[in-house]
């Protein structure tokens, strides 16, 4: 197994790289960025596995350049950076990291909602800057009891709903189809969902259909007393529309973990007190990063031993 070549697409997590190195011949794509042509001449036919993530996945170009690629094991649950059609065509297996990161992402969604409504970051800054001495802070918006609308009631969406319920938040959702076995109110149209909730949380997968699913109409429906929380993908939201809505006070606030052009979120949002921005850290805890890495390793080991994959996508 030590001769098996595995390509990792970008720096991800030291523990993951170390664990890959002990088991495989690990090739780091970024070590060869200055001599790409040479790299592909030397290594491309020996690479049997690619480990990608939300930054650099496995697109058609990469897959086409690796004639003996057998498996793409993504260090993420999102698959939007992998050309799944190409993988299907070539018979390349794909695995991801579902479930192990569900809790962390759901926790962050609620944490962002609390931070925006209760102005946690602004309060902290107020105290830190010594302003408390000169006066009082003012009022924030209560979170408990606010209606929460979830776009995508999958693993993460359901986990968000469960948490919000503990705060007495009525839950409603939009999804491709109504889910059986749930009492939450279903809206077949996302604009209706936005019009009927106070906090809209994006928690669906990024596909062609869901690109810019949160557009001007949805933002208008959410309105100046509404809040948008995005822990899914930046491309779910029409970002320029979101920015102008926030600058013009047409949206109450936003808590964002993801952006259309990471790592460069829109600078116009930096001065806004009703916006909380975090650098795509939904699953970034020590505990979950390790669990995700272990799952990537286990999938690769299973594949190369001819055993069933743990979390196959195709």
């Amino acid at each position: 197994m030590n001769n098996t070549c595995v390509l990792v697409t970008c720096p991800m997590f030291t523990y993951l790289e170390q664990e890959l190195e002990t088991r495989f011949n690990l090739i780091k794509l970024w070590d060869h960025s200055s001599s790409k042509a040479e790299f592909f001449n030397n290594y491309s036919s020996s690479i049997k596995a690619v480990v990608g993530n939300t930054k650099v996945g496995a697109d058609a170009k990469l897959i086409d350049s690796l004639p003996n690629l057998e498996i793409v094991a993504s260090y993420s649950v999102g698959l939007d950076k992998i050309d799944l059609d190409k993988c299907k065509q070539r018979g390349i297996k794909v695995t991801n990291t579902p479930d192990v990161l569900t809790d962390d992402v759901a926790d962050l969604a609620i944490g962002l909602a609390l931070a925006v409504l209760r102005k946690v970051c602004v309060c902290d800054q107020f105290v830190r800057s010594g302003n408390w001495i000169s006066g009082d802070f003012g009022l924030a918006t209560k979170f408990s009891g606010k209606s929460v609308g979830i776009v995508g009631l999958g693993r993460i969406g359901s986990a968000i709903a469960k948490r919000a319920e503990a705060f007495q938040c009525p839950i409603s959702y939009h999804s491709r189809s109504k889910k059986p076995n749930t009492n939450y109110k279903y809206y077949s149209n996302i604009v209706d969902l936005a019009a009927n909730c106070e906090i809209l949380v994006v928690a669906c997968a990024l596909t062609e259909e869901t690109h810019h699913i949160v557009n001007r109409k949805v933002i208008d429906a959410l309105g100046p007393k509404g809040f948008l929380i995005n822990i899914a993908r930046g491309a779910h939201v029409d970002e320029p529309e979101l920015v102008s809505a926030l600058l013009e006070g047409r949206l109450g606030g936003a808590g964002l973990d993801v952006f259309e052009n990471e790592p460069e979120p829109p600078e116009q949002l930096f001065a806004l007190d009703n916006v909380v921005l975090v650098p795509h850290v939904g699953s970034d805890t020590g505990e979950t990063s390790k669990a995700m890495a272990d799952l990537v390793i286990s999938n690769l080991e299973a594949h190369f031993k001819g055993k069933p994959l743990l979390t196959p996508v195709i």
Partner: protein, 339 residues
């Protein structure tokens, strides 16, 4: 001072409610916030007289006080008001009211009841997630433009599976427990007495609770017994990976010791809404990314203030109509406060 209102002569017959200092809602929303057609306010703070003189001159027939955390009702004040029968407070805590003197005089105290419990519990969860997942620190990082220049942000710590120890399982503590259970936390608690019909593990000793949890949440009242309850021993038992959240009262914590532990990395982090000498906050905390602070405003939401308005006006109107109060405090249940 006594308001003159020639166009509404009957207003001059309205009973007075004494206010020693403006409550936060007056400061933020204006002093008509608790207006009613059934009573009027006597504002001691608008008089140049020292309080004792003011009370002797103007408050001899006043039956009710509207108090807030920053306007203590001391034995001295009570003794200067022979007809005082009711103290209504806007704050959650009662530690600023001399309850022994009230008990002795048969003065009834009306509290904020449970109107703040949800907001306080929400603050706890907000602070805990922020400390563990570095939300405020990450927000600063992004807004300073450091994501594109510095790249990766340090990893946080998972909330799910953490053992949460609640000091004081009253209304607020119970709401905290309910919320954190939904995040996959396990709950245990310390309280003056074990609660019947409660399945959470009970620890008679706060130090032992701290030794057996990852996040210690302070939700108890400030009393003689709980002053500096969270001391060097407790913080040491909580340990290097432990987080502490305090939305109760600053003096429950030995603040000097807490600051030392945070500066020297002896606990993981802290979320603090209250401090020993508000609004002074130890400057050493300002440089720490693992501390999240708020200016004693865990209940400061539009919604809670509206609930408070209804409750305060409701209690005062009930009192002056000889009807039962909405949120009377049972004084026998309260421990001793030396204020």
């Amino acid at each position: 001072m006594a308001p003159e209102n020639p166009s509404h002569p009957s207003e001059n017959d309205l009973p007075y409610v004494l206010i020693l200092k403006p409550p936060p809602s007056f400061v933020i929303l204006g002093d008509h916030f608790f207006n009613s057609t059934k009573f009027r306010f006597l504002k001691a703070y608008e008089s140049p007289l020292p309080l004792a003189h003011f009370l002797l001159a103007h408050a001899q027939s006043v039956q009710a006080i509207l108090s807030s955390g920053g306007a203590p009702v001391t034995a001295d004040t009570i003794r200067l008001m022979p007809l005082l029968r009711l103290v209504v407070t806007t704050s959650q805590g009662l530690n600023h009211i001399d309850l022994s003197e009230c008990r002795r005089r048969g003065i009834v105290v009306a509290s904020a009841g449970t109107i703040y419990s949800a907001d306080c519990a929400d603050s706890v969860v907000a602070l805990l997630i922020d400390v563990l997942r570095k939300v405020s620190a990450a927000d600063r990082f992004v807004k300073q433009g450091l994501w594109s220049s510095q790249g990766e942000y340090p990893l946080g710590s998972k909330l799910g599976g953490k053992r949460v120890g609640i000091v004081g399982l009253g209304s607020i503590g119970s709401e905290v427990a309910k919320r954190l259970e939904a995040f996959g936390c396990s709950i245990s608690y310390n309280s003056r007495k074990k609660k019947p019909f409660c399945s959470y593990p009970f620890y008679l000793n706060v130090r032992e609770l701290a030794a057996n949890c990852d996040a210690l949440i302070i939700c108890c009242a400030l009393t003689d017994e709980t002053h500096h309850l969270i001391n060097k021993e407790v913080l040491s038992a909580l340990g290097k990976d432990g987080v502490i959240i305090n939305i109760a009262r600053g003096p429950i914590m030995d603040e000097k010791e807490l600051v030392r532990c945070l500066v020297e990395g002896e606990i993981r982090g802290a979320g603090l809404d209250v401090f020993e000498h508000e609004p002074d906050v130890p400057n050493e905390l300002f440089a720490l990314d693992n501390v999240v602070m708020s200016p004693h405003n865990a209940v400061f939401t539009w919604e809670s203030f509206e609930d408070l308005r209804k409750l305060v006006v409701g209690n005062l109107e009930a009192f002056f109509s000889n009807e039962p109060l909405l949120t009377p405090v049972v004084l026998d249940d309260q421990p001793h406060f030396s204020g």
